[in-house]
Symmetry: C2
Amino acid sequence: MERKEGRDQPNMLDKCLRILRAFDGGDQQLRLSDLARRTALPLSTVHRLVGGLVEHRLLAQDDGGYQLGIGLFELSGLVPVEQELRVAARPFLQDLFMATHETVHLGVREGADVVYVEKIHGHSDLGLPSRVGGRLPLGCTGIGKALLAFSSNEVRTEYLERPLRAITPHSIVDPARLERELAEIRATGLAFEREEATVGRECVAAPVLVQGVAVAAMSISVPVSAYRMPQLAAAVKTSALGLARQLRTGREHRRPPGGEMFG
Amino acid sequence: MERKEGRDQPNMLDKCLRILRAFDGGDQQLRLSDLARRTALPLSTVHRLVGGLVEHRLLAQDDGGYQLGIGLFELSGLVPVEQELRVAARPFLQDLFMATHETVHLGVREGADVVYVEKIHGHSDLGLPSRVGGRLPLGCTGIGKALLAFSSNEVRTEYLERPLRAITPHSIVDPARLERELAEIRATGLAFEREEATVGRECVAAPVLVQGVAVAAMSISVPVSAYRMPQLAAAVKTSALGLARQLRTGREHRRPPGGEMFG
DNA sequence: AAGGGAACTTCCGTGGAGCGGAAGGAAGGG
DNA sequence: CCCTTCCTTCCGCTCCACGGAAGTTCCCTT
């Protein structure tokens, strides 16, 4: 009998993570019965597991509900790739922000998404869908396109083979068009995005290249009306190059960024 | 938080967390046998658990070892207290950094420690022991003392009853002295720290007060020779007050619609 | 080439821990 | 006062997590 790969019985760890990830819907605080509903687990099971999670501070019991706990935050500070990258990148992003006073992002590729690892913005953060730790489809964002353009052929073709997700009416859904754009990005070292991630915003991104592969990318995001792309593009590219150099010298040899796609 | 009963037998969740926390020793990459050694768990057990952790991206299998995975990072982005606080605080820290060009921290209290949730620094980050997600004893840091001064009596007395940890020769170990200092901090709204956390560095911190209690504190850290404390103190206090006001007003309308865009 | 060691992977019988239905509180409110 | 909703506790059954042991790979030494 062939073993189905997709779904076995969820074990304890699976269930715990289902509980933790139940918070991704934007709700900060969930009650026990909410968790049971969202995870589709029996109430008594959730109750038991939640006890253990609270003990480890992965959850915090607030009056009338549970929240994700600070233990998660602490653990995340130890994640090496992001940690190293962020520490190195922060000053460069800082400079970029100070020079332009526009929202600045740093992101890495994770499967078919970009995951934002740093974000700097002023007092008014105009409803961007990005969030540190959040994901967006690669093809819909400047950072994502920069990452994709400078990934391995394998990764790129696999991404292009699947239907492209759109998150605004302007998001690219035609693989051929995206492929053309990626070629252009490879030629220029700059990725542009126009309202493909957020209506009313456009952005320019540059890859952070280590040995020809993008280990990260950074971007500046501005309202569409600004018409400042040329200067911003130069600034982003400069910062990205600076960070790349810093990463190269900072550590001599760590990990040639392979990694499988779509686990 | 009374944890009287010493856990007899670690369950699956305990073991998984022991594995994850095995990375807190500064090592980024650990091999299976390293993990088994550090966690004092049988090799085959670690092997099995690691499999599950990798599936959930809490661990990443690198050639020759394992690293903490990006899944942790993503989850941490959803931790509400820190998330809300950080988003609100970032612009203020930003301003503070731009005004002073010195290293800026934001921290919250967690038990007897301060946990840093944000840190902004220039290109030269002079070996400070702080790290986003990292902990230090409350009494050894400016932020910690600011937090402690404006915590409940309960918290404060409990902290003072236990022996004070020292991390430099200048760290305060006399409870009476610390108590006196806390009183002063309560009076002035400013906490100073002189080489108590890092030899050669001093810092000034101010609490972020919501309803009279410090929900966080921010600080500026400079080399001891700088003699710029008066101006820095004013700047820190101003920023902290600004953030406190922001938090108060932000909290009135629970959560502006935005949240998650497009699922 | 053979031997030794270290690290990783797979196997498998056993027992206890995880499981979840059900019943028992605890609030609220109509 | 009953009904609903939510949380907590209980308990017997089942099953899967457990880890010792054997197997495999790789590298280093002799």
